[in-house]
Amino acid sequence: MAISTTSDHADGPGHELEDLLRELTPQVLGAVVRWSGDFAAAEDAVQEALLAAATTWPRDGRPDSPKSWLIQTASRRLIDEVRQQQARRRREERAALREVPLGEVEEHDDTLRLLFLCCHPALTPASAIALTLRAVGGLTTAEIATAYLVPEATMAQRISRAKSKLKGASFELDTDPDRLRNVLHVLYLIFNEGYTSTSGPELHRSDLSSEAIRLTRAVRAQLPDDGQVTGLLALMLLTDARRAARTGKTGELIPLAEQDRSLWDRDQITEGVALAVEAFETPPLGEYQIQAAIAALHDEVDRAEDTDWPQILGLYGLLEDLSGNPMVKLNRAIAAAMVDGPDAGLKLLEPLDEELAGHYRLDATRGHLYEMRGDNETAAEHFRAAARGTTSLPERDYLMTKAASLS
């Protein structure tokens, strides 16, 4: 199964079954984890049940309730496994005596519980990402390894360590806002990993963005009234809508103002704008809602020169108050330059020399503002400094080209 099947829709009975199993996997896994309390063992059992389904359903027909069938099959496998261990270790006895859930399963969605568990604060972001893609996203370890450019064995080890770290962790849904924030952050990181990839050998990585959008939709289905969740989904859709236009033929980065806007995904923008508006009207206001509103203002206009910079400037001010993130201050300086001219922007950058000492983005921003001012020599100097500071190859190429075009 390739990652790209996530966005494909049934073009044959095989795909239809695959899509169904993929959708059910986190729900089934969630139910089995909740019942057994053992993440690692539950996952093995669910994998076996999925394999059994993939081989027997096409032959014998699909059961009336595929979800119950999978939960029961996985639970039985788990009990078999526990019984085998029992011969060796008597203390497993109690677990095996628990009842198998029969009949219709509870309708509340275990996907969300599973996602919260995978994004547990005890895990590093990298572990949480790997586990989320594996257990909730249903991607294979090989697919995740390819997406993160590491060998499969390395990724397998990370996933298994993450699982063992979660042994004994509570599967109860923790509605603490910090936990939700953690989940959203992991989804955002997965999205970004896909979005910032440039074309070339990493082309398939962009599917991570689709996967993050799919998972965020699943969270929103469970928490439709949460402004942060809606805001994050809007932000992802509005950002991803520009994907086709953000890189050129050889993978070179194209800045927002120079993108061919006819390549933007109109349907995604329409949906994203509607969600951004809804999210903005759902307090309390968080970072994702404001970022979504800014993305909406960029996406709504057909020509860069029609961008509503005064409103964007106001929103960056709001975002700065909320987050205090120096990167936000950079963006605010750019917006200020667009509204009041480059000197206003340059002035806002002055206090950042301490906070962001030597950071290439500060140099890059100065480069743009000096260019706006018509001081090409100083601009080129800043672009060259930025090119030396970045650890990204496509960014370095962009900054060097920019410097060369000004000197």
């Binding site: 590093t124 390395t154 080890q157 190859l393 962009y398």
Partner: protein, 135 residues
């Protein structure tokens, strides 16, 4: 996660005796130390790749204009201490972690179990991802 390349030269650190002349016990202890270290990196899910390079006698240097036949020379001619002996690529949470791994490698035991303090060069890989934000 960030990828780093840990480069080890043929520089023996504080030990002047070439490895080919070490006692077997010292050699075994050295190999076991490095083997265990790599295994820990494998277990922690941080190891991307580890390779030793063959001796300089198998090395060639190629120069070409792209038009006429390339010029081949034996080499490299650098001082043997500056010749790359092997590399380890890791994918880690932070630069601090990469430096910690390099320090462990550097402390591999030499003759008599004395840590070699081999110099390990830590280089961050360029990322293929990039973003210009909203310029």
């Amino acid at each position: 996660m960030t990828k780093f390349m840990l480069l080890m030269n043929m520089d023996g650190g504080n030990c002047d005796t070439p490895m080919l002349e070490w006692d077997k016990a010292d050699m075994d202890a050295h190999m076991k130390y490095l083997g265990d270290h790599v295994e820990r990196l494998r277990q922690s899910g941080e190891l991307v790749e580890v390779n030793a390079l063959s001796w300089p006698k198998h090395a060639k240097v190629v120069r070409s204009t792209g038009v006429s036949a390339p010029v081949l020379t034996d080499g490299p001619y650098a001082e043997s201490k500056e010749i790359l002996a092997g590399y380890t690529m890791v994918d880690v949470e932070s630069e601090e972690r990469a430096l910690e791994i390099a320090a462990e490698q550097s402390a591999a035991p030499g003759p008599g179990g004395v840590p070699l303090e081999q110099p390990i060069e830590v280089r961050r890989l360029m990322e293929s991802d990039g973003d210009l934000h909203d310029f």
